[in-house]
């Protein structure tokens, strides 16, 4: 379905790109928010990715799904933004305000646990994972991508995808079990 649409766009019906954007924007946004953890920046990244995808549409070979190709562009866009952010973080490392923000985040996590909102705790725990692990988990469980698709998006071998998913889930399980044990509940 997407492939036919891409061909139409390449033949000159450029306005049809709106259909492709509408079709994939929600899932793309979910991936971007998971990676960047900031809605406004995530939306900018999604826009960037769609614009880059459009400008390189003639390079889309169609041997993989359009969504796989788009997510790869989006993943790279988010990674670039994270790199920039990391470089900026280096300069504000000694800023007292940034330490205060970190402390606030930690205390809000504790509050969530006290209220027993495990879903929110899980979200918080997912945020603490490495970007590649977060992306692999989001792509697998939220976007319902296959191992092959995730490997193509993250440009890593399929074995690494399996390891990322396994380690990510194990980490989350251990952390959630730890939190729940504190609450006297079982997973």
């Amino acid at each position: 379905m997407d492939r036919a649409l891409v061909e139409e766009i390449l033949r000159g019906k450029t306005h049809r790109y709106a259909v492709l954007v509408d079709r994939h924007k929600d899932k793309a946004m979910t991936l971007a928010v998971r990676m960047l953890q900031e809605r406004r920046e995530a939306e900018e990244a999604v826009q960037d990715a769609f614009v880059r995808a459009y400008r390189n549409l003639d390079r889309f070979r169609g041997d993989a799904a359009f969504s796989t190709w788009l997510y790869r562009i989006l993943y790279n866009t988010c990674v670039s933004r994270l790199r920039v952010r990391r470089n900026q973080a280096h300069w504000i490392e000694w800023d007292e305000n940034s330490a205060a923000v970190q402390a606030t985040q930690d205390s809000s996590l504790d509050d969530d646990i006290e209220q027993g909102r495990m879903q929110e705790v899980l979200e918080a725990e997912v945020r603490r994972l490495a970007p590649a692990m977060q992306s692999a988990l989001t792509l697998f469980f939220v976007q319902e991508c296959t191992y092959e698709e995730i490997a193509a998006i993250l440009e890593i071998p399929m074995g690494t995808v399996k390891t990322l998913l396994f380690r990510g889930k194990r980490l989350l399980r251990q952390r959630l079990e730890g939190k729940m044990t504190e609450e006297g509940r079982t997973l």
């Binding site: 979910t30 939306e43 999604v46 697998f140 469980f141 998913l165 396994f166 989350l172």
Partner: protein, 184 residues
Amino acid sequence: MSGSVRHPEEEVLEEYASLRTSRPDIEEHLRNCPECRSTVRALQSVGKALRALPREYPGKHLTEAVLRRAGIDPGSPKLDAMLAILAGTFCLLFLSAMVLGVFLLTGVVSLDDVHAGPAVVEQQWLAGWAAFSGWVGARLDRLAQLLPSATHGRAAVAACLVVAALLLVDVVLGRRIVRGRHES
């Protein structure tokens, strides 16, 4: 994992829990191993919770922003509106043809009237409306005899009317949606 029983690797259990495909060897082991069963259950709980994580939605103007930034003309609203009107006209013509067909079949309007022009058809149409109503009533009565109850006949007619009404609503709404998309 302890004892002399050979447990599957946790990675294998994780894959089983994630993919939810049939693995008779693992299922056989799980039947007899509460330890691995509990591991799989915990892994499935994490997977279920991950699947249930809230989706994120972009602002409603994202598509327009992408098109603008990519320098794409969002298409001609006039063309869309014209297509919507064309579709609506076609539907109305189709419905009119169906009604005329019924009138021709029932003899309310003859082919000569049709050839004589629209004014004659209209005259005959209005004159024949009462007859048509009577005809519908008679058919309903006949249907009532054929069907287990008159309710079925009325239901069939009502269903036809509902379909026609839905068709019209669809055309009207379709036009409004197209217009709304371009206005937004």
